[in-house]
């Protein structure tokens, strides 16, 4: 194994740059090092001006999503030696506006998320000192969709989101489904009006790249397609049986 690997890193300093440039750094090639370790080496030893986000370095906080050799990836779980002899290209996550270097703004997602009402909605009275019963089978119905770490790799992979910025997007819809399918939730009809819209599930054309990019196996594409069927049946039902449908 060679001693070093070249990392080609996007730089963007809004105070001075009109558009991003690429800067190259030679980084030690160690078999345990993730791309994130390479970035930290650059920041600590070579160039303190490089900005990027990271925290847990174990794939659970969702901070360190970037584009590595053209693919959206968590840099803490992507290993340098898989790209040897290199070079490795590290760019900010696609489809998001770039604030600085490898840091993008995810404000659009954070603005959209509350609109799908991603919380448990109850219409009955809640009994305080007893838990809602939920069997392991009922938990399995939505468990997969509850694994989203909000890393935004799915938005980076989605060509629809690239072309239509109003699209709610894979993670937001998957989170809505997480609650729709939770046996304790009673709010599915409240979410329908936002999800069954042109900027909701109907914008999705099932490219499927979101699920391919997801590091946690959430399968947002599956969540969306499933909801299309739900939305279609509900709309049809309310058409055919307008009053008593619900």
């Amino acid at each position: 194994m060679p001693e070093t690997i070249t990392m080609q890193v996007t730089r963007y300093r809004p105070d001075t740059d009109r558009s991003p440039t690429i800067q190259e750094y030679a980084v030690p090639l160690r078999k345990e090092w993730a791309v994130l370790d390479g970035l930290n080496y650059i920041k600590d030893r070579l160039d303190g001006t490089l900005s990027f986000r990271w925290s847990c370095r174990m794939g659970i906080c969702g901070s360190c999503g970037m584009t590595v050799n053209g693919n959206p990836a968590l840099t803490c779980g992507t290993f340098l030696h898989d790209f040897a002899p290199g070079p490795v290209r590290v760019e900010p996550l696609t489809n998001f506006p770039v604030i600085r270097d490898l840091v993008v703004s995810i404000d659009d997602f954070l603005r959209k998320l509350p609109t799908v009402r991603p919380w448990l909605i109850r219409e009955d009275e809640t009994v305080e000192d007893v838990e809602f019963l939920q069997t392991p089978g009922e938990l399995d119905n939505y468990k997969q969709f509850s694994m989203c770490i909000n890393c935004m790799l799915c938005y980076a992979a989605c060509p629809v989101y690239a072309a239509e910025p109003d699209f709610l997007g894979p993670a937001a819809i998957a989170l809505a489904q997480r609650y729709n399918l939770d046996s304790r939730d009673q709010g599915a009809h409240q979410r329908l009006d936002l999800l069954a819209t042109p900027q909701g599930v109907w914008a999705c054309t099932y490219v499927g790249e979101c699920s391919a990019a997801c590091p946690k196996g959430v399968d947002p594409a599956g969540a969306i397609q499933r909801y299309k069927l739900t939305a279609a049946t509900r709309t049809l039902r309310s058409f055919l049986l307008p009053k008593g449908a619900r």
Partner: protein
């Protein structure tokens, strides 16, 4: 309050027109989407054929001559390939939308897809039997 995004001098990368050529998966996706055009053509062709049969022997012979045209042959071969692509990708994606549970266990996605292919096979056999001379 927080600084407005517009005040931050954010960089928004432009989208290239050829975005769909840059990944194999995007290319397959676009081909899949384009396949509906050929599905539409297959329906039109079928309607033309039914109309020709209905209009009598002469009309039918004209239709056969038309179909024998090299460009129509090529078109129909290409259309067949796209219709097959359309059907196969559609059936493979169906389990994502159709999630059925029986007695607390989820029906395997493969079973849902298999049911689609099975129905296709049955339909093909029935149509084939009718067209190829079953009595």
């Amino acid at each position: 309050m927080s600084t407005e995004l517009t005040d931050l001098r954010l960089y928004r990368p432009p989208i290239r027109r050829t975005w769909w050529l840059h990944r194999r998966s995007y290319l397959m996706f676009v081909l899949r989407e384009v396949s509906c055009v050929f599905v539409a053509w297959a329906v039109v062709f079928l309607l033309l054929m039914i109309n020709a049969v209905h209009a009598g022997e002469d009309a039918y012979q004209r239709f056969l001559a038309f179909s024998g045209n090299p460009w129509v042959l090529v078109l129909n071969i290409v259309a067949l390939a796209f219709v097959l692509l359309h059907a196969i990708t559609w059936f493979n994606l169906a389990p994502k939308a159709i999630v059925l549970t029986a007695r607390g266990r989820r029906l395997a996605p493969r079973a849902v897809a298999a049911a689609h292919f099975g129905a296709w096979l049955v339909a093909t056999v029935v149509v084939g039997w009718i067209v190829l001379g079953g009595r």
